[in-house]
Amino acid sequence: MRSKLLVGTLAVLFGLPFLLLALLAVGEGWRFPAALPPAFSLAAVRSLLGSGNDLLAGLGRSLLLAGTVAVVATAGGFGLARAIARSAWARHWEVASYLPYALPPVLLAVLIQPFIIRLHLSGSVGGVLLGLLLVALPFATLLLRSFWTQQATEYEQLARTLGCTPGQALRQVLLPLAWPLLRTALFQTFLLAWFDFGLTNVLSVGKVRTLTVQVFAYVGEANAPLAAVASLLLLLPPALLLRLNRAALLRNTP
């Protein structure tokens, strides 16, 4: 009985955001003190396909940015983790990798902004990408560091002894062995970039209009229906990832 009550309470607590966002997205002329919208309309949802609305472009931009960050950070992190494992200063590199976490992302963005401006990357996708990689790359490196144990090295050496080229050893031995961790790194770094607002907003000075930046803009314009539609779009990829691999969502700190 107690456990059913607990499940019910948490289901309401965590389900309510989806219900309220959906009501806001389809409600029309919903003002205080009405508890429910007086009329329903799909205008905000339909505006996704309208030429004057850049929500769909924002969705594409966010997917592209988060996807690029995930692939580059995971691939780079895999190679870097290997280099760190074989380095004489492995422990120092690990400690250094924690530096971007010691600072809040927005503060990090504020600190590196003068250099982003000097590199002529301010307000560009490249600048945002660099900022996001500054956080995502050490995250993936630390996460994948646990793969490069003595055992992984021995598997690699065995494959080479049996006649594999370095490329074959990587493709046919190491990558399949590392796949569960690589998948986690891909998911986590994707979400890291997908959820980001502060770093993107500061480095792009509002010009790179990802979905999170758009949610904030719509909230500022008091356009609750479009903010709700953008919010629901933001929930889609993580929901899909949750369905694909629940465990991959948990490892928030390497």
């Binding site: 280099a83 010691a102 809040p104 990090l108 590196i112 929930l235 993580p238 948990l250």
Partner: protein
């Protein structure tokens, strides 16, 4: 070439993750003494001297620390209560799966949702009006954009508590605390004694680095206080970006100074704390 590649890779990596933030920190320091920045006019200590007369940064730091400690403290308490009090329910049924749902939520979306739910014209206010509990808009308590930061704390608890519950549950299972429970019961301890003297210290010590990083993340939160906070008092990240984005360029050195003090302070506090918690984590 094969020998050089890892060194090149590590060199580039070092430049990115250590060089760039430290260069930013150095630039902020130089900017705060008038040696860098668009209006740099030579060395001056007046911004540092003015720091003592401007309570804004100190208030923002104290306010952020208060919000972070309360939010992470509440989240830790709730997560521990759930893991230690509802272990059977967590092992079967939908409870564990439910805890993953808030992990789908970007902080900004959660803040927008809470604003729509808890503001004076929000859903709860409307429901209380319809139920006759309140007679006008102003009669509903101020739960967001309030001075105490209730909305900000609530948002962070909603995001952090499920994550910590999942973390504690994973540690509980990895550490085979169920076996310890049977053992302590055999030795005559009560269930409460097992929770207080065995499970609680073990869970807290193993989760200490994550708890510390969660506190720092909350301390430096931006999205949630931007929507649910008020112009005064502000949390640190909002305070810093507000100062940096002012149109008056003469304010930049003071903003650089604030950035340097916050970043330097966090590094000085966090690095030894993280080292300590990692060393003492079981």
């Amino acid at each position: 070439m094969r020998f050089r590649l890892p060194k090149l890779l590590l060199g580039g990596y070092g430049l990115l993750v250590v060089g760039l933030p430290l260069a930013g920190l150095a630039y902020a320091l130089l900017g705060s003494v008038g040696l860098a920045g668009p209006l740099a006019a030579g060395f001056t200590g007046r911004y540092w001297l003015a720091l003592g007369h401007d309570p804004g940064l100190l208030y923002a730091a104290l306010y952020s620390a208060g919000v972070a400690l309360v939010a992470v403290g509440l989240s830790t308490g709730l997560a521990l209560a759930l893991v230690l009090g509802a272990q059977a329910a967590l092992r079967r049924g939908p409870l564990l799966g439910l805890l993953y749902v808030p992990l789908l939520m970007p902080a900004l979306v959660l803040a927008f949702y809470l604003f729509q739910l808890l503001s004076r014209s929000g859903w709860l206010s409307r429901l209380s009006y319809q139920a006759g509990l309140t007679s006008r808009l102003e009669a509903f308590p101020e739960l967001v954009q309030d001075a105490a930061g209730v909305g900000i704390v609530l948002a962070h608890v909603l995001l952090t508590f499920p994550f910590l519950a999942l973390l504690f549950q994973a540690i509980y299972q990895e550490s085979r605390l169920d076996d310890y429970y049977q053992l302590t019961r055999t030795l005559g301890a009560s269930a409460g004694q097992f929770r207080r003297r065995v499970a609680l210290p073990l869970l807290l010590r193993r989760a200490a680095p994550t708890l510390l990083l969660s506190t720092v993340a909350t301390l430096g939160a931006y999205d949630i206080p931007l929507l649910l906070g008020r112009p005064y008092p502000q949390m640190l990240s909002v305070y810093l970006t507000t100062r940096l984005q002012r149109f008056d360029l003469r304010e930049l050195p003071a903003a650089y100074l604030a950035g340097f003090v916050v970043a330097g302070g966090l590094l000085v506090l966090l690095v030894p704390a993280l080292r300590y918690t990692r060393r003492h984590a079981l």
